[in-house]
Symmetry: C2
Subunit: 346 residues, 2 copies
């Protein structure tokens, strides 16, 4: 039986959830693809890494202990010198630069390794270069978990809308702000809503990236780059957060039969002077009708609407799923299955 060797760059909640899911689906993978998936390298930010020597087999991820990590083994060492077939990038995102994830992806592709990223930085900042590098090196570069967790937005369009041109992408992409706005509708103010979100685990200790719209802008950028084949970065998005929204604003909206939602929208627009089409994206608190799709999105639901030339619009909704971390891990697993599937065909 063949092996597929996996390097996990980043081993936080998603990495560990992925390792558990891989264990559960090991038999399915062996039977379906006649291939045994083995983890040959793990890298953490604080503890260092574990790198199996060539031919030493896989790491038993259920039995990883702190003393197995070597402080001298870092991500680049694993990526440049490790024995693996697929690098999975799971480090925390830096929305302002896309680093170091973009560098990790680039170097693995350069070595002719398949890459899966759950980190949207590389797609938001350097999608086209990375896609081209993957193609040059005859490997796959997949990123399904970067938007809407395991919901197959990218695969949907790549695999099932052949021949269609995507003309617009829109939706609610950030669950934290949607949760905060939904709580505020109940009559509490912004700070209380943030506190409630922290208590329930939906809001991070420092929610600035969410609240200021940066997370949504990065996701919008990622979707536009991939689906509309453009080159746009998060800083080019016309971005407004929800930090200034008051419960009075929400009350005023309700009186008009409306709600306020953080909507994202990306499309091509003609430049007034040159007439050249260029990508334009916005993330903004927006008044929506109470019986519209964005208005009825549950606190932690999100959706993506795609407009195409040949088949009109399609909307995909991600329903809340607990634990969310498993949902993201499934996005990574589905990319791995795709690599196994396509490798088998060839």
């Amino acid at each position: 039986m063949d092996q597929i060797r996996i390097a996990l760059i980043g081993y936080g909640n998603v990495g560990q959830a992925f390792a558990r899911m891989l264990e559960k689906r090991r038999e399915y993978i062996r039977e379906t693809f006649d291939t045994d998936p083995v983890v040959t390298a793990i890298c953490t930010r604080s503890k260092g890494g574990i790198l199996q020597p060539a031919g030493a087999g896989g790491i038993d991820t259920a039995r990883v202990t702190d003393d197995m990590f070597d402080k001298l083994i870092d991500a680049i060492k694993i990526i440049d010198f490790g024995e693996y077939d697929v690098m999975i990038e799971l480090t925390p995102i830096n929305i302002m630069t896309g680093m170091p994830a973009t560098r990790h992806v680039e170097r693995a592709l350069q070595r002719g390794k398949h890459v899966i990223t759950a980190n949207k930085g590389p797609i938001a900042w350097a999608y086209r270069e990375l896609r081209d590098k993957a193609e040059e090196n005859g490997v796959q570069f997949l990123y399904e978990a970067t938007v809407m967790d395991g919901v197959p937005v990218y695969n949907l369009t790549r695999e099932t809308m052949m021949g269609c041109r995507i003309t617009e992408v829109s939706g609610i992409f950030n669950a934290t702000t949607n949760f905060i706005l939904t709580e505020m509708e109940k009559g509490i103010d912004f700070e209380e809503a943030v506190e409630e979100g922290r208590r329930q685990g939906f809001v991070e200790a420092d929610p600035a990236m969410d609240v200021d719209g940066w997370d949504a802008a990065a996701k919008l950028t990622a979707l536009m780059n991939v689906l509309m084949d453009v080159q746009i970065t998060p800083t080019e998005i016309d971005r407004e957060g929800i930090g200034h929204i008051t419960k009075e604003d929400l009350d005023a909206a309700a009186e008009q039969g409306k709600k306020i939602k953080l909507l994202c929208q990306g499309r091509m627009e003609e430049d007034g002077d040159t007439g050249i089409l260029k990508p334009v994206g916005s993330v903004k608190p927006t008044l929506v009708d109470q019986d519209s799709l964005p208005a009825i999105m549950d606190a932690t639901s999100s959706y993506v609407s795609i407009m195409t030339d040949l088949m009109g619009g399609v909307t995909v909704i991600e329903e809340p799923f607990e634990p969310e971390i498993d949902h993201t891990a499934y996005g990574v697993l589905s990319d791995l299955l795709r690599i196994l599937n396509d490798t088998k065909i060839k």
Copy 2:
């Protein structure tokens, strides 16, 4: 350059829209797949068929005239003796039997031809046999246009949810009844709503199959058979139409903050006596909250919700798209592109 030869069995609105769309995308197909798509046979119910002799090239579908049809050439003659690579089944559905479409599909597969059907009869009545026959003969059997027109429901799950088990399918599958109920909410009665639908082209001359829930039941059966890998037929669905719904019923619902929608639901249920899991499906007018997803579906929108074990729920919404006939034709075209894509890989 290779050719892919197409037999169109049925040449009504969808068949003609498909032929136009194929013409528009011919250059794209030639460039992408290095293959020229040619229509070598066309069959109609009333006028007979056109069947190109071997090596005679394709039919110029933009210039088909009535005198080109031969009364003696019927569907079976084309399917059994024609020169083609892909048979596209576009005859009108008989929901009670799935015939003659099922026979057409079976005989083409038996000859080792790829089959695309926009007719849901074969999927609702004989999915498993046809799937197995396609596999035995090493050909593809695709049916994306049978539910939600061109929206890629089947492809979504087949191509992008690998390793997931689908545990439930639900939604609003029939636009005609949704239109009638939406009109009745404005205060008119059933007959007036049907008349209005006929005027706008959303309701057929004889709407019984829609109104009585048969169309929705056939779609539910098709989805369950394919996505949940069961064997269930339209007559086994617990089915109730909307013919008895009055505007008073809708008023009473509105007073409770609710609406009435024709909901479809399919899932596995344990048999009380034997404990064996069996597929159970229902199509029924159902009270739903006014801020729920089914309630906000526009007159001619529809949606499918899929519940899975590994990644929770995903919902896909089909937005209204004019002309609808092009949407269905795109579903057929996307299946053809899939065959071209997969044939190229092999």
